[in-house]
Amino acid sequence: MAKNSGRDENKKMENTQVSDLQAIEQIMVSSLQPVNPRPEFVEGLHQRLIDPMSPTVRFTRRYSSQFILLILATLLSGVIFFITASRVIISLIREFKLTNPL
């Protein structure tokens, strides 16, 4: 009698264990869905793989023209700065020569 009740208990425990594990499996089936990568990433990496010399990032025409304008503005300010600075230095040297002729 006691043996039978022990067996029943074991069986019950086994069944509970199986149903617990099945529940965990069920949660995993519903939770672990494949995650898709961003299409831009997939395309960009494809480009990099098959043509390593191709640019990894492409800018729109608007950004490119803004970038070119920025470079031109930087160059222009650089030239102006250079001219101004050299004129200041030349006038300082002249001034120095006038005050100290020797």
Partner: protein, 197 residues
């Protein structure tokens, strides 16, 4: 030579890629990129690192494709092995990081369900993902290959270099440990609720 590239088998594409055919490698890339990304995404928990590591997997595969010899190991298994090694290195380098951030895209997915239902489901998923991230690397690998990639035990064995029986036993032990950890989280959650109440 005109050929329908997307219809190439893995073996043919591999042979061509090994001879320097970049188009053929591109076919293999298109075929596997989403699966490799998805696997790495679950292992790292964020999009940025998943993209970085996915790129490294394919660059490494491209570098070594000439040396690849089909010794009964399918291409997918080879790629997953590379991914697994890179993720292991990534974890080692970031070992100080205790919490792995899980991007919201894994969690919020339901459009039409009731907010309460979505909240409970998301909480359940979040707990599960937390528990999975605490598992040792080989157990995480088994779970992800089984449930995200839908691999059989034999296929998982090929990726991990284990026998089918060993995978089966590892999977069972992983399930038991997941159940215990999951129950522990649920119990500690309900205790917190009681304490607050």
């Amino acid at each position: 030579m005109v050929r329908n590239v997307p219809e190439l088998s893995d073996e043919t594409a591999l042979k061509l890629a090994a001879q320097g055919d970049q188009e053929a490698f591109g076919v293999l890339y298109e075929r596997y990129v989403s699966r490799i990304y998805s696997y790495i995404y679950y292992r790292t928990g964020n999009q940025h690192d998943a993209e970085d590591l996915t790129a490294r997997v394919f660059f490494r595969a491209l570098r070594h494709v000439e040396n690849y010899k089909n010794r009964g190991l399918p291409l997918s298994a080879w790629l997953y092995r590379i991914a697994h090694n890179l993720v292991a290195n990534w974890h080692r380098d970031n070992s100080r990081r205790k919490e792995v951030p899980l991007d919201e895209i894994i969690l919020v997915r339901h459009g039409g369900d009731l907010p309460e239902v979505v909240l409970i489901e998301n909480e359940e998923k979040e707990n599960l993902l937390k528990v999975i991230h605490r598992l040792p690397a080989d157990r995480q690998q088994v779970i992800l290959l089984k449930f995200v990639e839908h691999f059989s035990n034999a296929e998982i064995g090929q990726v991990m270099g284990k026998s089918e029986g060993a995978v089966k036993s590892l999977y069972h032990r992983t399930l038991l440990s997941l159940r215990d950890d999951f129950n522990h989280i649920l119990k500690s959650g309900s205790n917190d609720g009681e304490e607050l109440g």
